[in-house]
Structures are given as C-alpha cells and as structure tokens.
Symmetry: C2
Subunit: 385 residues, 2 copies
C-alpha cells in the first residue's frame, strides 16, 4: 500500500534535489500544475485570495505556489461548492500549484467549543456558530475537493510553551491521524501529493519519536509543524537541526508557518525547502515593509517628507515608483493602496530572498550569501538627510 | 484682467469642440499634462488615491483625468508638503491631468463647527480637531500647491431641499468667491485652468442669475454645482437643461458629483462634458457591479454558485477572468480583492460608457446609442440557469 501510494503520488508529483551546499538544498518540485523551485516561499491565500493582490501580481513577485486554508474554505464558501465550480485553481484564478493546510491549526486558533478526540475535532464556526466535524478523512476529502496539489495530513499543533504530556498527546494523535490520512488519500487523483507532519513541540526526543513512524508510513513530503508558535527562534532552529537530518533526502521538507526573513535563511541553512507565513502580507497591511536593509515601518513620522522610494533598485514597481512619503500617507490614511503596495513590496522581497538563496546554493556560496544578507540587514535603513 | 487671465489660461489649456449631436458634445481638453477626451468621467481619488486601484490600472480603464479632494489633502498630508514633494502628480504617481475640487463641498459635509462668512469658512478637522480656515484665496493657493491642472473656485454648495433664502445666499456667496478666486488665480502658472461654479439649487431663475455674472467674469470652464445633493433626477436634469444652453459653447462644462450611468447619458444628451462621482468606486467596495446590463449586486446569494464572469466580452480582466461565485465569496468574506476587482469593473464600465458616447456623438448617432444603452439596461442581468 505504501509503495503503491508513493508510486502513484510521484508519477506526476516529483522532487528533484539539484544541489547541496552544506545542509542547504536546491531543488525542484514537479506537479501537474507546474514547477516549484525550492527553497520556496508560499504566500498565504487564506480565503482563496492573497489579501490585496491580484493573482497575476502574486505570480509576478516570483511565487511558484500559494497556500490556502482548509479551515476558512470549509466554512465559506465550502469545499463542495468550490469543487462544483471547477476547483480552487479556477475559483481563485491561480493556475499554478496550491498547497492546502489540513484545517487543524486554525480550528485550534479560531474556532470555539472545539473538542478533540481520537476520531477528530468538533468545533463551532467563528462565522455563524454552526458545528462542524473535522476528521482525518474529512480533511483529506476537503483538500481533494479543493483540488490542492499538495495536501497536508490533519495534525494536532500544540502551542508552546506546553507540558510534556500535551506535546506527547499531539505527537500520538498526529501519528494516528497521519496513518488515517494516508489511507484516505489512496483515493486521490494522480499527481496529488500528501505530506506528513512532524510534531513534538520543543522536545527533541519527542520530535525524533514523531519522525520515524511518519517516514515509515511514506509520504510525498514532510513538514515540521508546531513551531513558530511562541517559542524563541533558537528553539525553533534547534528542532529543525534535530529533525531535518533524519528526513528522507529525496522528499521536500516544509517548515510550517515560518517566518521572518532571518528565519527563512537560517532554516534553509539547516536543510528546509518550503515555507509559508502571513508575515509579509499581514505586516504589509499594517505598514511594515521588508527590504534588503531590514524592516521599515512606514507609519513612522520620519517618512512623511521623504521623497525616496523604498528601494530604487528593486524590480518591484511598488518599491520603486512610490515615495516613502506617499506610502506613509496611504498607511496613515488607511488607504487600500497602502496595503496593496506594501504587500507587493514584501512578497517581492521574500521571493527575491528565496531566489537569492537558490542561486547561492546552486553556486555553492550559500555561506557568503548568508553573510552578505546579514550585513545588509545590519546596515539597516538609511534615514533621509 | 479677464482677457489676460483667459489668454494665459488657454495658452496651454484649451478646449476644442469636435462635434455636436443635438445638444450632446464631443470635445477635447488640452492640458500640459495631456488630453482629456470629453464627455469625460473623472474617477475620484479623494486622498490622492483612487481607492483600491493602482494608478496604472486607473489609466488602463480609459481614464484621462482623475479628481482629488482639496479638503482631505489640506488636512493630510497638507498641500505645502505635497508641493515640497513635487506636487500631486508625482506624489500619487499619476502623470496625467488632475482636477481638484475647492474643498468647500466637503467642509460642509465632513467638518464640524463650520462657520461661513463672506470671508470664507472656518471649520474643525474631522481627523484631529484642528481649526482651519478656507478662504477663496487659500482654496486657490492649495490647489496650485497641489499642482492641479484644473482648479475649482470655492463655492457654497447648498444641500436640497433648501429654502429660497438659503439657495440665494449660496448663489450670492459663490459669486463673490468666484471673483476672489479669479483674482487669486492670476498668480497661477501657465497652462492651469480655473473653473467657475454655477449654483442656484433647484430654482431655475436663481440658476440663470448665477450663470450670467460667472460668464462675464470669464473662466476656462464652467461647472454646475449643487446638484446630485438629494433632489430627484428629473429636477437635476431640468436644471442642466436650463443652464447648459447659456454656458459658452467654447468652454468645457462639468456637472459636479454626477452620477449613475443613466445620469451621465442624460446629462451628456443635455450638453454636459465632464463628470465625477464616487459611485463606481464606493459601490464597487460594497459589492455592486455596474455593467452593460445594469447593476448587479454580488452580495446576492444567487451568485454563490454562478461560474459565469460578470461580462465575458469585457476588455476588463476583472469582469472577464473571475466568476460571479468568486466575486460573491470575496465580497461576503470582506476580502480586499473583491473591492479591487469590482472597482476595476465599475471604472471600466463607466469609461466604456463615456467612450461609447464619444464615438456615437462623433458619428451623429447619439440618439441610437441612448436607445441601445437603455435597452441593455432594461434587459437586465440574466440569472444563472
């Protein structure tokens, strides 16, 4: 069964490792919807839209794949409806690869009255109070109805800090659900991929206990979940250091919900291939720009009279063709265009960073790239005269 | 003085009447920033941005000119600041013509503690409570600091219904201010234009009493103000019928704050050349699409499963490349992309309507165009099967 699944899953879904530089990996995921160059950053399109961006614009930033959230889409507009409309790609006018999460994480953070049992999780919709049940089987069914190219197992993501007992329960439940998801996924059409998720909180032993059974089950890719949930960066990176080496080298590795530009560089240095985070989009909507010279808060009054663009050398029109004074004005005036421009700036910067890492790994100069990138961040933004 | 002003004003600003069809006029305004084809619809860019649209996108809808609001910009970010930053065109990344209003209308509708005297109006900012004074001279100064191509006189716009005494006062005050604006505008750089505003509420006699002194003063264009402020459409059109014929044929005529697609067609039929209105942008943000087949409310549940685009034959990607089901979802989910797409749909439809009117007037078939347009509107939207 495992072998069959794997064979079926990889006949149109495939990961090719192109180069290593230390632990950092340059690769390529093939899907029926197109190629994903790794290391890859996936912009978050929670409700079937990357907030404030046209899909063509998201593509133009350099994104090969976006993430959409099962929890939101199961509540509204509903996976059966999206399937009837031709699937999520057609629905959101994004013909390229899509990864969907399993819904589990957001049930924990957004829904009320949630109750977790071995069977799954029941919860009350934050929108209209309707009760829902999300089982491993339903999580897979929903993601297949959506038409996701990469499907995630249902897992229990424990927020940190947590007791060892809580973390252990998360590991155990996630493994039980992994196996049920794997079975449910046997009905998946050709070319879809299923990723298993390693849990284990900030406990290296539990992390390793989580990895082995998952790898034995056989997934098309492996995610590290339950990080970037409140722990210090050093803890997150230590967990990555423990887990990445024991993951199969021929499968993509996805660090869920991460992170800052620095997190991305550090995690790539430790062998991770895929990332998603709301940081560039959410912070863009709140006036924060990510740039080669570190973050710039456009709300700050020092920008009010600054005629300079955020980065005159950027290929991104939003970073190049609008003054900081104008961006400051738009942010202060709460204008949509401010959120649109800063989201574009941030997603472009994130993709530029990934492209820079890919090029550096390919040329075996990732260490130099890390140093140079850190130097620019440390230089910081130069205020107007 | 009048002669000098006119001469200076038209040396780079000029209006050319190309064709008449009945009272409808096809024309062209030349400005140093480019050409405005009339009849023209001006999208509203209140705070130096057409809400939810990139400037390049506004241009792509067919807009030759946008309107910006003096009231908002004088409060934030301030006209002196915009001037220091190179003017409004550079600030908002819109190199094409800009018309600014005088601020008067929005002082009346948004500011508190306003006090009107012959000298001008004092008011408290709705943003931070600061007291401001707006005189005819300051209104001109602000608009010149912004760098507007077309500057509007300060006027008193009386909301309807109003007593004859209130309307009379508005007419008298607006005429006094018109003359002071005209004098203040003598300092304007070459190529800028100043428009006078006809007041008079819903009283034809007062309207005509307002026109004659204005025309004697000599302006580069004439606006009809104080309509679309609560009166029935028939009253508005009757006022236009009274006023338009006595306005100089060789100057552009601007009907302020108008209107629905039908208003535009009816006002063009009565000799008006320029329009502005928040309707396409504001309604777009609230889920209403204007189309060839009349308005379509995307909030309506009937769209939830409708795979059809709003108008498969539209040149506008927003009308063509996204299903009604998706637009419905975005609107219900309060996603920015819904507002962005519907704003684009609406501004494109408005510009298509203007382009259709211009072509029809040029070919002396405006009557047929009116009939055909009304027929499509009357047909209405065809619901999904």
């Amino acid at each position: 069964m495992t072998h069959e699944l794997r064979k079926r899953g990889t006949s149109q879904f495939a990961f090719r490792l192109i180069a290593n530089d230390g632990a950092a990996r340059l690769g390529e995921i093939e899907t029926p919807r197109g190629r994903v160059r790794t290391p890859a950053f996936m912009p978050v399109g929670t409700q079937a839209t990357v907030k404030g961006m046209y899909p063509g614009e998201v593509r133009a930033t350099g994104a090969d794949i976006v993430l959409a959230n099962t929890y939101h889409l199961m509540l509204r507009p509903g996976p059966e409806r999206i399937a009837d409309l031709g699937g999520l790609h057609a629905f959101m006018n994004w013909p390229h690869p899509i990864l969907t999460d399993s819904g589990g994480f957001q049930v924990m953070s957004l829904a009320s009255l949630r109750k977790i049992t071995d069977a799954g999780v029941t919860f009350r919709s934050h929108l209209d109070g309707t009760m829902y049940e999300l089982t491993p089987e339903r999580a897979i069914e929903i993601q297949l109805l959506l038409g996701a190219d990469i499907v995630m197992q249902l897992d229990e993501c424990v927020k940190l800090p947590a007791t060892r007992a809580e973390i252990e329960r998360g590991v155990r439940l996630s493994l039980v659900w992994a196996e049920r998801c794997r079975r449910a996924f046997e009905r998946a059409p050709l070319g879809r991929a299923l990723f298993g998720i390693v849990q284990g909180g900030d406990d290296a032993t539990l992390r390793l206990e989580s990895v082995r059974p998952l790898v034995d089950m056989g997934f098309d890719g492996y995610a590290i979940g339950g990080l970037a949930v409140g722990e210090p960066q050093a803890v997150m990176l230590r967990m990555v250091e423990e887990v990445a080496p024991v993951l199969p080298a021929d499968r993509p590795r996805y660090l869920m919900g991460v992170g800052t530009p620095e997190d991305l560089v550090e995690a790539v240095a430790r062998g991770m291939d895929m990332f998603d985070c709301v940081m560039p989009t959410r912070n863009g909507r709140h006036g924060l720009a990510f740039t080669r010279f570190g973050p710039i808060n456009l709300k700050n009054a020092r920008h009010a009279d600054d005629p300079r663009p955020l980065d005159a050398e950027s290929a991104c029109p939003a970073a190049r063709d609008y003054s900081r004074a104008y961006l400051h004005h738009l942010v202060k005036a709460n204008e949509m265009l401010g959120a649109m421009l800063l989201t574009a700036v941030n997603l472009t910067y994130y993709q530029d960073l990934m492209a820079g890492m890919r090029a550096a790994i390919g040329e075996r100069r990732f260490g130099d790239f890390q140093l140079a990138t850190r130097e620019l961040w440390a230089r910081g933004d130069i205020p107007a005269l």
